[in-house]
Amino acid sequence: MAPSKEGINTKRLTDEELIFNFQEGDTGAYNEIVARYKDRLTNYIYRYVGNYDDCDDIVQDTFVKVYTSKHLYKEIAKFSTWIYTIAINLAKTKIVKAQKYKTFSISDVYDDENKDFDLPDEAYGGPEVDANSKFLSAHIQKALDKINENYRELVVLRDIEDFSYEEIVDMTGLPMGTVKSRINRGREKLQELLKDIYKEE
């Protein structure tokens, strides 16, 4: 990554200030944006898509889009809302294409117990992540994959990424009532799917 031309400490700047600097030609500001949002977007897209490779491609595409379409951002909404909107739209397009040209891996033929999960080992941060947490996260991800993608999108934004309802409305462009109802329905279905975990607890 190229350092900022002006040598300003970009880490103290807000997201909106960074994008304005980048619009003026500060590539260091763009690097700072990438550093701030790459993991957040990867986590969100992974929970939404359920495949790490696809997730990586989508996040890469999102940053390329930000780079090429920097002039389109205006200070109407938050930068986080804008970049998440780009990522959601790209993820939806990817899902639609995947459904259109549906392919299946050989691993899908086997039972769920033998199924490989696309969770990067290094992403978990090392040896402290034990096998139980790995299994639990895989089980939750499976449950998320089973619910409708409209519900999944909003549940992830609200309960995993911890966005407010207003921000979700801005990102998705849906009415508030629709967002709430979809989040509640998604939660209900997810709770049903994760009954066993709650019983044990």
Partner: protein, 305 residues
């Protein structure tokens, strides 16, 4: 909103405790590579801007070359075919149709034998050459023979039209086929013979005369309805008279008187008929005598010669 969030608090906590998925280590390097790839066309363009741009100007083609392009060949062919078809239709076909309708005229004529002959007259053709010989031996152009009326040269096909009075030939009225003079003479001779013998031939002659009169009336006179009625009524009167004669009532003298008066009238009429008949017979005899005399005179002249 908060109530709903609290309702699913356990689930939310569970989701929050999920391990955060991080991007790959080489994420930024791959991203920069992709950005460069995306920027590369624009960079190339910026380099080319400094160089003088030589636009490729295609050589100007003549209008004939542009018209007879390979893509226009089917359309041009179709238009040419259509034009030829239009010219042929309006130039020849319509003329042919007109000649068919105008030049040829059909004529229908009927022969005396009841046959119907249709012959076609064309422009500049004499109809007499095409005239059927079986119609008449007389040339329709020839006017020397007045006895035979020339056949109509043209006959309209309109059979419902009124007949042309000029075409109707005045055929001479045929004389009724009556008893010939020789037969009359023979009949007269037989009557005379009967008279000589003393046979009463009055009734027979009367009936014959009446029949002859009736025939002559029917043949030569056009009977109106009133006359027909009279004729039909006359025999009825006679019948009534006969009935009156049959049913004579002796107690009614007036009726007898009337009957007697009627009888007298009838007798007078019969006398008049007899006199008329005698006169006619006399004239007939004279005529026969004259004929025989003339024949005798002829014979004498021949002998003298």
């Amino acid at each position: 909103m908060l109530q709903e969030d609290e309702k699913y608090k356990a689930l939310r906590d569970q989701l929050r405790t999920l391990p955060r998925v991080k991007a790959k280590h080489d994420f930024e390097d791959r991203l920069m590579r992709r950005i460069r790839e995306a920027e590369s066309p624009s960079v190339k363009l910026s380099h080319t801007v400094t160089q003088p741009v030589i636009k490729h100007q295609p050589a100007k083609k003549s209008w004939l070359e542009s018209l007879f392009r390979p893509s226009f060949v089917p359309a041009l062919g179709l238009t040419v075919v259509l034009l030829v078809a239009v010219v042929v239709y309006f130039g020849y076909y319509s003329k042919l149709n007109k000649s068919d309708t105008s030049n040829t005229q059909q004529f229908v004529s009927s022969t005396n034998q009841g046959d119907l002959i249709i012959y076609v007259k064309k422009d500049g053709e004499d109809i007499s050459s095409n005239y059927p010989k079986e119609y008449s031996a007389v040339d329709p152009v020839d006017t020397r023979s007045g006895e035979y009326a020339p056949a109509p040269t043209e006959t309209s096909t309109d059979y419902f039209a009124k007949p042309d009075p000029s075409r109707i030939t005045n055929t001479p009225e045929l004389k009724p086929d009556r008893v010939s003079e020789e037969q009359k003479i023979e009949m007269q001779r037989s009557v005379d013979m009967d008279k000589d013998k003393g046979v009463d031939v009055k009734g027979e002659r009367k009936s014959d005369d009446v029949i002859m009169k009736k025939e002559s009336k029917g043949l030569f006179k056009t009977e109106t309805k009133s006359e027909m009625k009279k004729e039909t009524s006359e025999p009825k009167k006679k019948v009534s008279d006969e009935k009156k004669n049959i049913f004579i009532d002796e107690e009614s003298p007036n009726v007898n008187q009337e009957q007697k008066a009627n009888d007298k009238v009838e007798d007078n009429l019969s006398n008049e008929d007899e006199t008329g008949n005698r006169i006619s017979r006399a004239t007939k005899k004279d005529s026969t005598r004259n004929k025989s005399e003339s024949e005798a005179d002829d014979k004498e002249t021949i002998q003298q010669k």
